[in-house]
């Protein structure tokens, strides 16, 4: 189990990653070819 500091670091990091994704253009996978 994570201690409180590890928890805080992890949550901060996950929040930053989501913010970065929000700032990035996303894609509709229907645009891509079907894998073979």
């Amino acid at each position: 189990m994570l201690d409180d500091l590890q928890f805080e670091e992890l949550m901060d990091l996950l929040a930053i990653i989501e913010e970065l994704v929000d700032a990035t253009e996303t894609v509709d996978f229907s645009e891509l070819p079907v894998p073979t």
Binding site: D4, L10, L13, I16, V21
Partner: protein, 162 residues
């Protein structure tokens, strides 16, 4: 210690534009001259991207581009890894039911961001209690999700193990 926001942005930009450093020709096959001068996408790279893709709330164009390039460029031996990447990204795209651990993690991050946007700083107990109520997960599933994510972040070099 966590990386700074600036380091994370650089990492993220590198990851999502990785394909730009791996030029192939229009048919998606590697150009011999380009390959001699640029890093190739290896199975290890694909594996790394799969793990990173699991972190993302939804796929980005950079990942789609990378997927396209890997799909066209890899030798048959990489087929399995390419398929894994396709599955990861497609599961992100269509919001298929995720594991309880994933649900717990996503709910906690969402709650944290919403609270911060409202000018509040929720405690760990509040974040976990919200996930238990809203994502219908148990404390044990939350603990497992957190350990799993922490280990992943350490393996990706984004957190230092303590």
């Amino acid at each position: 210690m966590m990386r700074t926001a600036e380091q994370l942005r650089a990492w993220f930009a590198f990851t999502t534009t990785y394909v730009d450093a791996n030029p192939g020709n229009a048919r998606g096959r590697y150009n011999t001259a380009a390959r001699a001068n640029t890093p190739r996408i290896t199975p290890a790279d694909t594996d790394r991207v799969v793990r990173i893709a699991r972190l993302l709330p939804r796929p980005t164009r950079g990942f789609a581009s990378l997927l396209d390039r890997i799909r066209g460029a890899g030798p048959p031996a990489r087929k399995k890894l390419r398929r894994r990447l396709v599955q990861e990204l497609e599961s992100l795209e269509d919001n298929r039911p995720r594991s309880k651990r994933t649900r717990a993690r996503r709910r906690m991050v969402r709650f944290l961001r919403e609270e911060r946007a409202a000018g509040r700083s929720p405690t760990r107990a509040e974040i976990e209690a919200d996930a238990i109520a809203e994502a219908e997960v148990t404390q044990a599933e939350i603990d497992a999700a957190l350990v799993e994510q922490y280990d992943l972040m350490v393996s990706l070099g984004l957190l230092d193990a303590r």
